[in-house]
């Protein structure tokens, strides 16, 4: 007999390491009328299933075999965008809360189910969650699109209704204000929420808003208060650690992250954060200790991160043990085939090989590190590659990379500091400061020259200059947005050119993705409208 239920079309993935629990869950889900049910016993298999087809609901047991728990799995899924906002994640536990810690809101499951439960209870929970998804569908859609002004408006409508989703929506609105860059508005909003009731998420939001506003003192005060009141809220320790790091107090950052680790010893994110603080602090034995913990837990799991091994190799080299670093890095390179040409791993191996007295192997590693397309690499990787170039004696290549980094990030004082530190280690502190200054001056000059040309009516020349500059420093949003505007203006004045339009749109999308509140986006949108109007008429 086929059962007609609202669940017929819902696709469910069950993840549990105990065979009896799996079949139990399968029969409960089956009794709701679901027709697509996939069952996994390991994280690895579950990930494969998720890649093979989309699911609506994931039912996951908290305790999983192989050194992983459901929370780590969920954090992995959300941080890698394996599942979207629409997918429901239900955590199944034997007893909730008493051991677990509270992580960041975006890494919380949609619901917890306490064992044992009946199929009827599961059905009620799913009903409610689907209802909630329906009510918040528009808000979710706008969030996925990154249209924060619309998110705020949609939230205000639901807040005015004062229904059961009031608090859920307040959370989303606070985050939307932060994302929209309205730090002042966010401070006011969170303060207003806190008057209604002291809630940990609102205090954390207030701390984020204060940080964005630049009020570090009140931000730290708020976080210290929050940690005292809610010692299990891990996100508070993380943020306080970041604020300490950003204000140059690596020792305080380490202390706070250490206390977080005492509360939550299993969190991979915490051990990684400690390693970052320890790196800044130059305490490489702590880096070794922290990353050793992470690697021990993830070595044989799909949650393994190549960068953990690379950073551990770097720490060993820094500790004066390049031999151990070489052994580790060579092992990773040969046993994990995906990592063979990983640029970060290769750059760190180059330094270790050089220091261990193997210049040939160092050169080979550096060659692997520099074969990737540089524009696609993150800052930390580029810094490591530059460091490897310096260690091996290739000064010009290092300067080239560092100059490009500065020009792509002309505003980031923190990055400039790190660049100066890398160069200073190799005996050139004065040169370092000069490099930063000159690089910035050079890119400003290209930008200003192009603007002058544009004003003089040489639109095509200006557009060409800025396009070349934007390709060289794709992370510099001022250059990229100017290039987009110049190209569009050129097209508007001088006639349709499909290639120029495509390039302009690619730049526009880059700005949209990296700086969704960039003021030039409005200019681009207006120019596009005018271009469409002009050439639509011409066609008629």
């Amino acid at each position: 007999m086929s059962i007609q239920t609202p669940y017929r079309d819902k696709r469910i993935l069950i993840l549990d390491d105990l065979p009896e629990m799996r079949s139990s869950l399968r029969s409960q889900v089956g009794s709701l009328g679901c027709e697509t049910i996939a069952v996994s016993s390991t994280v690895k298999d579950a990930l494969e299933q998720l890649k093979a087809q989309p699911f609506d609901v994931i039912l996951c047991d908290y305790y999983l075999a192989g050194g992983t728990d459901g929370q780590q799995f969920l954090e992995f899924l959300r941080s890698r965008n394996v599942i979207g906002r629409g997918v429901l994640f239900m955590m199944i536990t034997a007893e909730k809360g008493y051991e677990s810690v509270v992580t960041a809101a975006e890494c919380m499951p949609d619901d917890y189910l306490l064992k044992p439960f009946t199929a009827d209870t599961l059905k009620m929970r799913l009903e409610r969650l689907f209802e909630k998804k329906k009510r918040l569908a528009r808000v979710d859609q706008m969030q996925d699109a990154g249209d924060w002004a619309e998110v705020i408006a949609a939230c205000d409508e639901i807040i005015a209704a004062r229904d059961r989703y009031l608090v859920d929506v307040m959370r989303i609105k606070g985050n939307a204000l932060l994302q929209a860059g309205q730090a002042e508005g966010a401070v006011g909003f969170y303060e207003q929420v806190l008057v209604m009731r002291s809630m940990p998420w609102a205090k954390l939001g207030l701390a984020h808003a204060l940080r964005k506003k630049g009020d570090t003192v009140r931000c730290k005060e708020t976080l210290n208060e929050l940690i005292a009141e809610s010692p299990r809220l891990m996100a508070a320790y993380d943020l306080l650690g970041q604020v300490h790091l950003a204000t140059g107090d690596a020792a305080a950052a380490m202390a706070i992250l250490d206390s977080a680790c005492t509360v939550s010893p299993n969190s991979l994110a915490r051990h990684r954060a400690i390693a970052t603080a320890a790196e800044v602090n130059g305490d490489f034995s702590r880096v070794e200790q922290a990353l050793g913990q992470v690697i021990k837990r993830t070595r044989h799991s799909p949650l393994r991160e190549t960068s953990d091994f690379a950073r551990l190799g770097n720490a060993l080299t820094e500790m004066g043990e390049p031999g151990r670093a070489v052994a580790l890095l060579e092992e990773v390179r040969t046993s994990f085939r995906d990592d063979a040409n990983n640029p970060l791993l290769a750059a760190i191996e180059a330094v270790a090989q050089q220091k261990a007295g193997h210049p040939d192997k160092a050169a080979a590693a550096l060659a692997r590190a520099t074969q990737a397309d540089r524009s696609a690499l993150p800052e930390a990787v580029l810094l490591a590659v530059a460091k490897a170039c310096l260690t091996i004696g290739n000064q010009d290549a290092a300067r080239d990379i560092l100059k490009n980094l500065v020009q792509s990030n002309p505003e980031s004082k923190e990055l400039h500091g790190r660049i100066v530190a890398v160069l200073s280690e190799h005996g050139a502190p004065e040169l370092a400061k000069q490099l930063v200054k000159e690089s910035i001056r050079e890119i400003i000059k290209i930008n200003d020259d192009a603007v002058l040309r544009a004003k003089a009516g040489e639109l095509s020349v200006a557009a060409e200059m800025l396009t070349a500059a934007a390709h060289r420093v794709p992370g510099n949003m001022q250059v990229v947005s100017n290039a987009a505007v110049a190209l569009l203006f050129d097209v508007f004045k001088n006639g349709l050119d499909a290639a120029k339009l495509r390039t302009a749109q690619a730049f526009q999308q880059a700005v949209q993705a990296h700086a969704p509140t960039h003021p030039k986006l409005a200019d681009m949108a207006e120019l596009m409208t005018r271009i469409r109007a002009k050439y639509a008429k011409a066609h008629k």
């Binding site: 139990s24 034997a94 007893e95 064992k115 044992p116 009946t118 199929a119 009031l166 809630m199």
Partner: protein, 204 residues
């Protein structure tokens, strides 16, 4: 040496897993009586474990915005109907949201509900409403009522004589007190009104 408490905690965890399998098997066969019995046993273990955590000072509490009507509906459907007794919930005056730890409050109300079922003649009625700015969860039965000595707001370690071990009521008091806001703490109140009335009061 392994601490007995920790060993017991691990064992309870394992037993609850097995109970979950039992409950699901019984449910698949349509054997509701066994499902009820298994759920009740599991609830006893949950309380024991919670009590142990509370003694160790780490009965963590996560207060969040919740919907009282959802919780009572779920309890009603999970526990009733049993034997000849009816279990129902009055949700007319329930607020859309309130702030509490759902897992802990669920444990307390479930215990009150099982207690009421043992003494009720025909029916048990649960309700949620706002009384003088506080949330009142109540569980009332139509049985003989609490003995006079137990009425009012029980002090922390008063032994509960109505069968049971007193563990449930003791824990209820603790869970209630953990719900605090702006200097006010929740509490439990026992009364008689054509039967026993258990009230869990939670601050705004």
């Amino acid at each position: 040496m392994i601490d007995f408490g920790d060993l017991a905690a691990f064992t309870l965890h394992d037993v609850k897993n097995r109970l979950a399998v039992l409950a699901s098997r019984a449910e698949a066969k349509g054997d509701r009586d066994t499902v009820h019995a298994v759920l009740e046993v599991a609830a006893t273990l949950t309380r024991l474990l919670a009590w142990y955590k509370a003694e160790k000072g780490n009965l963590g509490i996560e207060i969040d915005a919740r919907t009282p009507a959802d919780l009572l509906t779920e309890l009603t459907r999970e526990v009733g109907p049993q034997n000849a007794l009816t279990v129902s919930a009055d949700l007319v005056d329930a607020p859309a949201i309130w702030f509490y730890d759902e897992a802990l409050v669920r444990m307390v109300l479930l215990n009150a509900l099982y207690n009421a079922l043992r003494h009720a003649r025909q029916r048990v009625l649960m309700a949620a409403c706002v009384r003088t700015g506080w949330l009142e969860f109540s569980v009332r039965d139509d049985g003989p009522g609490y003995p006079a000595a137990m009425l009012g707001q029980p002090v922390a370690m008063q032994p509960l004589s109505r069968e049971g071990t007193g563990l449930g009521l003791h824990l209820a008091g603790r869970v209630a007190a953990l719900h605090s806001n702006a200097g006010e703490h929740g509490y439990v109140e026992l009364g008689n009104d054509e039967g026993a009335v258990f009230r869990l009061m939670l601050p705004p």
